[in-house]
């Protein structure tokens, strides 16, 4: 019944020495240092931006922006927090700012113009199912308030600890706990609605895939 959910990433054991070397190099103004950090973190930053913005093109642009800012602001990183925490904070803050600007420009709800694409080697049926599931994730997240969406992404997708999330969002750990509670309640409500709506269609696709 217990659900201990340690957020640690086992791959980080190998990453840390690489990260230290890349970090030092980047702080000396070397592009290859930034390249090293990009290799380690691009996937995580892109995933976070993509899930917050819900748009592949915007997320790609946002990843560029985030790493350009890393290069500009790396001198401000003082090592008191983990670099990954500092990077997530930079990424989340700038992505939420982008979202706010976009909303100001348009009164419409967030548009999900370019949903996730599947790898080419997948069978068409499986790709369709995967696309639908991914679209369903995006639709679920799009229906949430940005702060609920963000905290769920950090916890469920990025698997960060409460302490790390608190540091990234600049809030107390207790706030993380209460905000996650409200966000999960909202997620559950929408997930039930969506599941009921989509279950018949999904079952059809799964059946066709097996045949």
């Amino acid at each position: 019944m217990t659900n201990p959910n340690p957020p640690s990433d086992p791959s980080l054991g190998n990453v840390v020495p690489l990260e230290q070397a890349a970090l030092r190099s980047c702080q000396s103004g070397e592009i290859r240092g930034l390249e090293g950090l990009y290799e380690i973190y691009a996937e995580r930053v892109f995933r976070t931006c993509f899930r917050i913005l819900g748009d592949q093109g915007a997320a790609e642009d946002q990843v560029h922006e985030v790493f350009l800012r890393v290069f500009e602001q790396i001198a401000r990183f003082d090592g008191r927090a983990r670099f990954s925490t500092w990077l997530y904070r930079l990424a989340v803050n700038h992505t939420l700012n982008r979202l706010r600007k976009r909303k100001r420009r348009s009164s419409k709800l967030v548009e999900f113009a370019r949903p996730a694409t599947a790898p080419p080697r997948e069978s068409p049926d499986r790709a369709l199912l995967r696309k639908e599931e991914s679209d369903q994730v995006q639709a679920l997240l799009a229906g949430l308030k940005p702060d609920h969406r963000t905290i769920l992404i950090l916890r469920e997708i990025e698997e960060l600890s409460y302490a790390e999330i608190a540091e990234i969002l600049g809030v107390a750990k207790g706030t993380v706990m209460s905000r996650l509670h409200r966000a999960r309640q909202e997620l559950k409500r929408r997930w039930i609605q969506d599941s009921e709506r989509n279950s018949d269609h999904r079952e059809d696709v799964q059946r066709e895939g097996r045949e």
């Binding site: 959910n5 030092r24 350009l68 997930w191």
Partner: protein
């Protein structure tokens, strides 16, 4: 009947509030046992818990399913114009920072000189009778010898720090990742000045910005014979050097001025020439 259900409803609402933290393993042992016991007995809360787990699990499983991030080359292309901007901004920014710090240090020096009144090293320019005090710089081997060899008489590790530590205009960081660690007041026979200690990992750099008799820097025990003062002075005659950039190259510092790149020794000689 009502009275027996009422406490359970209260308990359910309390449990519901804690289910999210329960899923994440963020409850105390006592709270966790309480929730487990309640879920065992209460089918309504168990269903609530299952639904929360299913929704979270769906997001966790499918949420990582995203396209690949853009290739590094696309970032690199966008970095090129930024790098050019950086070069110019770094030069201008550092120039401003150094100028501001020199001003502050000069002000601090003036205040100390005024406060010291007519003491022998109070700044009459004649030297007078000097009462030397031992130099003590814990954790900085070699620096005290270096300072003593160049005429420093006393190092005060508190005064300057107290007067400048809250001042934002002292450069917190030098190019190359050297971060400001400590500041000292340094006195020679004529005036007072500052010594700023910067650190990069185990490497220390001290920048002696004043007084003019100590226009040298010290780097982890190795003399570099350079200065980063934006303005260097000789007694009776001031010569100005506008500093544009300091580039640590390995363990050395290169000084870039409007006259071009100078090695530190050449710069000091040029400033010392009549």
């Amino acid at each position: 009947m009502m009275s027996s259900e009422r406490p359970r409803e209260t308990l359910c609402s309390e449990v519901e509030k804690k289910l999210s933290a329960f899923i994440d393993g963020e409850l105390t042992e006592l709270e966790r046992l309480g929730i487990e016991r309640h879920l065992h007995d209460c089918s309504r809360c168990r269903r609530e818990f299952d639904l929360l787990c299913q929704a979270s699990s769906f997001l966790r499983k499918e949420g990582r399913n995203v396209p690949q991030p853009p290739a590094w080359e696309s970032v690199q292309r966008r970095l090129e114009p930024l790098q050019e901007r950086h070069k110019w901004r770094d030069r201008a920014g550092l120039n401003r920072a150094v100028a501001a710090s020199i001003g502050l240090i000069a002000l601090a020096g003036l205040l100390v000189v005024l406060a010291l009144g007519d003491r022998p090293w109070g700044g009459d320019g004649t030297g007078g009778s000097i009462e030397a005090s031992p130099l003590k710089l814990a954790g900085l081997p070699g620096l005290e010898t270096f300072l003593a060899e160049h005429g420093a008489l006393e190092v005060d590790s508190t005064a300057l720090h107290e007067s400048l530590s809250f001042t934002p205009d002292i450069p917190e960081e030098l190019p190359g990742g050297f971060r400001l660690e400590r500041t000292f007041l340094v006195r020679d026979s004529r005036s007072v000045g500052s010594c700023l200690i910067y650190r990069r990992d185990d490497e220390l750099v001290s920048l002696i910005q004043h007084p003019p008799s100590l226009p040298l820097s010290w780097n982890s025990g190795k003399l570099l014979s350079c200065t980063i003062a934006g303005r260097l002075c000789r007694r009776g005659r001031d010569r100005e050097v506008e500093l544009l950039q300091i580039e640590p190259d390995g363990r050395n510092l290169t000084i870039v001025t409007r006259a071009g790149t100078l090695d530190p020794v050449t710069l000091v000689r040029a400033l010392s020439a009549d």
